[in-house]
């Protein structure tokens, strides 16, 4: 599932990958990419089963993640991270202000719902358009510089948007309280009774409506909102594969490996990076629009720089520059966040009841800072460990394990010739 993403032949020439597209796989993908896409598709659609492996009421039920709210967050942040990866993974430009596009998209979506219709499609389209325009403006300015300067510029723009949304733009953004759909809102095209609070829907299908299936001790929830978001995520994922394998994607990789050389060959890299930036911003807007579609509210904290930092963490943790990495990273972080912050000291005592009392208390005291409210500490440590030991993220970890297993089997041509496996470093970033 992981080793196709860094497929060396597909990376070296764009032409070759387009030739490959005609053999093997479908939908214009190579056989490997198509297989990856199929796996993601199956996992996404069966997620309510896969994420609920433990029976209701059992001690392990707290590890279940198969409830709508969390599953929606998985796919939405997956989209956000895929989009960020198009910029950072391909071109190496580290944007520290990506949450601004998500926030702007969210505001666009909620106004569409407040004014025009509660159907989510116009809202999402509006979110993409608004975020795209904003990304075009920010990108046009920020991309004049590279490296740390680019990071600071994007950060500055994002913080500016946050500060403005928080203060002066309160008539548009609702300030600190943000925007919600209220019972006074009268969308033009939706039939809302007096005093009724409109709900987001897709041609009448409400986002929050769910179908529950009870099988023995298990309870599976199939949520309309999740499946709509999942389909959008799959589309976004498909487009990102196509983009990675296209000649345009090759150009972006060229920017990452050596922008100067690219310029000397007579190519102007600016349109490519700007296009990547805008696409990436539109992905963020799409994620923001979907967020609004799911819970019909938005606040400025969505644009704060910590939110931008989070998507950076997702992409790095999963594996920047790989196809599946950001999705894995987003899912991993959101899952761990949810599960770890639910664990408390009572649960820890239950786990370690078999230890002698003194030792039990000691172990619990040792673990306690890392759980519950200490989730960010765990995240920080995990993130540092990944950057230090696994610069390629979870994907590289998977590849190493796979390579190790192959080596153990002694399959002659040893796929992992470099035991340390230092990936080629991006010389461009931070120039």
């Amino acid at each position: 599932m992981t080793d196709q993403t860094q497929n060396p032949p597909a990376m070296t020439t764009g032409a070759q990958s387009t030739v490959q597209a005609s053999r093997g796989g479908m939908l214009g993908l190579t056989a490997n990419d198509f297989r990856l896409f199929l796996i993601v598709l199956v996992i996404t659609f069966l997620a309510p089963f896969i994420l609920n492996p433990f029976p209701e009421g059992s001690a392990l039920a707290q590890f279940n993640a198969g409830y709508p709210d969390l599953m929606q967050r998985f796919v939405i942040f997956g989209i956000f991270a895929i989009g960020f990866n198009i910029l950072f993974g391909l071109t190496g430009y580290l944007s520290f202000g990506h949450a601004a596009f998500l926030g702007v998209g969210s505001y666009g979506a909620i106004w569409m719902m407040k004014l025009l219709t509660l159907n989510v499609i116009p809202a999402i389209i509006m979110a993409i358009i608004v975020a795209g325009i904003f990304a075009l403006m920010v990108g046009y300015v920020s991309l004049r510089r590279s490296g740390i300067y680019f990071s600071i510029l994007t950060l500055a723009f994002a913080q500016m948007s946050y500060a403005l949304a928080y203060s002066v733009l309160t008539p548009i953004t609702g300030g600190e309280t943000g925007l919600q759909i209220k019972n006074t809102d009268r969308p033009l095209l939706s039939n809302i009774q007096d005093g009724e609070i409109g709900r987001a829907n897709l041609f009448g299908l409400e986002m929050r409506s769910s179908f529950e299936l009870e099988l023995g001790a298990w309870l599976f929830t199939f949520n309309a909102g999740y499946y709509i978001a999942a389909v959008v995520m799959l589309l976004a994922f498909y487009m990102s594969i196509r983009l990675f394998r296209s000649p345009f994607g090759m150009m972006l990789r060229a920017v990452k490996s050596n922008q100067q050389r690219m310029n000397y060959t007579g190519l102007n890299s600016k349109p490519y990076t700007l296009a990547a930036f805008v696409i990436s911003g539109m992905y963020a807007g799409l994620a923001g629009g979907l967020m609004v579609a799911m819970d019909t509210q938005v606040g400025p904290e969505r644009m704060f720089w910590t939110a931008s930092g989070e998507v950076v963490l997702m992409a790095i943790l999963g594996g920047a520059g790989t196809l599946i990495g950001p999705v894995l990273g987003a899912g991993f972080i959101k899952y761990m966040e949810n599960i770890i912050s639910k664990i408390n000291s009572t649960i820890l005592h239950e786990w370690f009841f078999w230890l002698p009392d003194g030792l039990e208390n000691f172990v619990v005291a040792l673990i306690y800072p890392f759980i519950g409210k200490g989730w960010h500490l765990t995240l920080g440590i995990m993130f540092m460990a990944v950057v230090i030991f696994l610069p390629g993220g979870l994907v590289e970890g998977g590849q190493r394990i796979a390579g190790w297993i192959k080596n153990r089997r002694g399959s002659g041509d040893g796929p992992d010739k470099d035991p340390e496996h230092h990936p080629k470093q991006a010389p461009h970033v931070g120039e």
């Binding site: 190496g92 580290l94 300015v141 004049r144 510089r145 490296g147 740390i148 300067y149 990071s151 600071i152 510029l153 950060l155 500055a156 723009f157 913080q159 500016m160 500060a163 403005l164 928080y166 203060s167 002066v168 733009l169 720089w305 910590t306 930092g309 950076v312 790095i316 800072p369 200490g374 960010h376 500490l377 995240l379 920080g380 440590i381 993130f383 540092m384 950057v387 230090i388 610069p391 470093q425 991006a426 010389p427 970033v429 931070g430 120039e431």
Partner: protein
């Protein structure tokens, strides 16, 4: 005119903090070539050194005073700090009152230790890695440090007062010959500004007038040659990291009476300090200091009612706006050197 001076004064304390943090950032960047996102955390750790010392000094035991009773008629409980017992009434209470200045002495060894551990334990391994990796790992470190502080000290700001003698304001306007009560300025802010100027001056003097500083400057200009001359430049750069940590820590210690320390104060200042460094010019020490004061004062001018009435919200965004304009018109910042971060 008086309003003008007042705004400059108001900008000075924040500007001082920006300048001190940016100075440390630039020191680290100029010597080690590392973009340290954990520098705000050092500022915060300094502030929490003051909080810790405050708690240590006010550790007390409880005795019952039979001569007084509380409202229920029980003997009143009197808390006596241990320091009062040890050093006598006047010295002990004075120590508690002067906790923030005392914390300067208390924090220096701590900040040196933190700096050395950070550099030797983590950052050393990232010199050969891309800048993006350095940013990311120090960003992770900043999260870890601030969460540790949050775990031990809680999420709420902890007020740490200035010494009694510096509480309140004084009439700066009257001293300059304006109408009385037009320019009122808190004592502690003036103390902070003076302290920052002295500290900045000390750092520059150290770099300019000592042999150690000369070697460091030579190393900043051409690390390889200095190394070839048989000088252990790495060790000196490690000490510069510790120095930068001390500067950030002291900035944090002295800032506690102005803003009650909380676990995210480091990050709040870091984002702005980075902007300051970039505006001043990456790698330029005078640039960092100048830009720090400049942006602090600009921010204060932008929060005047006149400015807000012309451009609403200007006070919130002025620093970022200036940064954008400067980066686009003078890509190297105000005093940036050629060849830094642009090879």
């Amino acid at each position: 005119m008086d309003g003008f001076i007042l705004q400059i004064l108001n900008g000075l304390d924040k500007g001082s903090a920006y300048a001190l943090i940016a100075l440390g950032l630039t020191l680290i960047f100029g010597t080690l070539g590392v973009v340290n996102f954990a520098h705000g955390a050092l500022f915060m750790i300094g502030a929490f050194c003051a909080v810790t010392l405050n708690r240590l000094l006010t550790l007390s035991y409880v005795t019952e005073d039979p001569s007084r009773t509380d409202f229920l008629g029980n003997p009143a409980k009197v808390e006596t700090p241990y320091v009062v017992d040890w050093f006598g009434e006047s010295v002990g209470l004075a120590m508690i009152d002067w906790v923030v200045p005392l914390a300067i002495l208390f924090s220096i060894p701590i900040m040196v230790a933190v700096g050395l551990i950070m550099e030797r334990g983590l950052i050393k391994h990232f010199y050969k890695r891309p800048h993006a990796d350095q940013i990311l790992v120090t960003f992770g470190l900043a999260i870890v440090l601030q969460e540790i502080i949050k775990y031990y000290y809680g999420a709420n700001p902890i007020p740490t007062p200035a010494p009694e003698a510096f509480v309140g304001t004084f009439d700066f306007g009257a001293m300059l010959g304006f109408e009385p009560f037009t320019i009122l300025y808190p004592y502690w802010r003036l103390v902070y500004f003076v302290f920052a100027v002295i500290l900045i001056g000390a750092v520059f003097a150290f770099l300019q007038f000592t042999t150690f500083g000369m070697v460091v400057r030579a190393g900043m200009a051409d690390r390889e040659t200095v190394g070839l001359l048989g000088i252990n430049i790495d060790r000196r750069f490690t000490l510069m990291f510790a120095l930068a940590a001390v500067v950030a820590g002291l900035a944090g210690v002295m800032y506690t009476p102005i803003i009650s320390p909380n676990y995210h104060m480091g990050m709040d200042f870091l984002v702005l300090s980075f902007v300051v460094v970039v505006v001043g010019g990456m790698g330029s020490l005078p640039g960092a200091v100048a830009a720090g004061f400049l942006l602090g004062i600009l921010e204060s001018f932008a929060s005047m009612p006149v400015a807000i009435s012309i451009i609403p919200g200007i006070n919130q965004i002025i620093i970022y706006l200036v940064a954008i304009v400067i980066l686009l018109t003078r890509p190297r910042g105000l005093m940036g050197r050629k060849g830094v971060m642009e090879e």
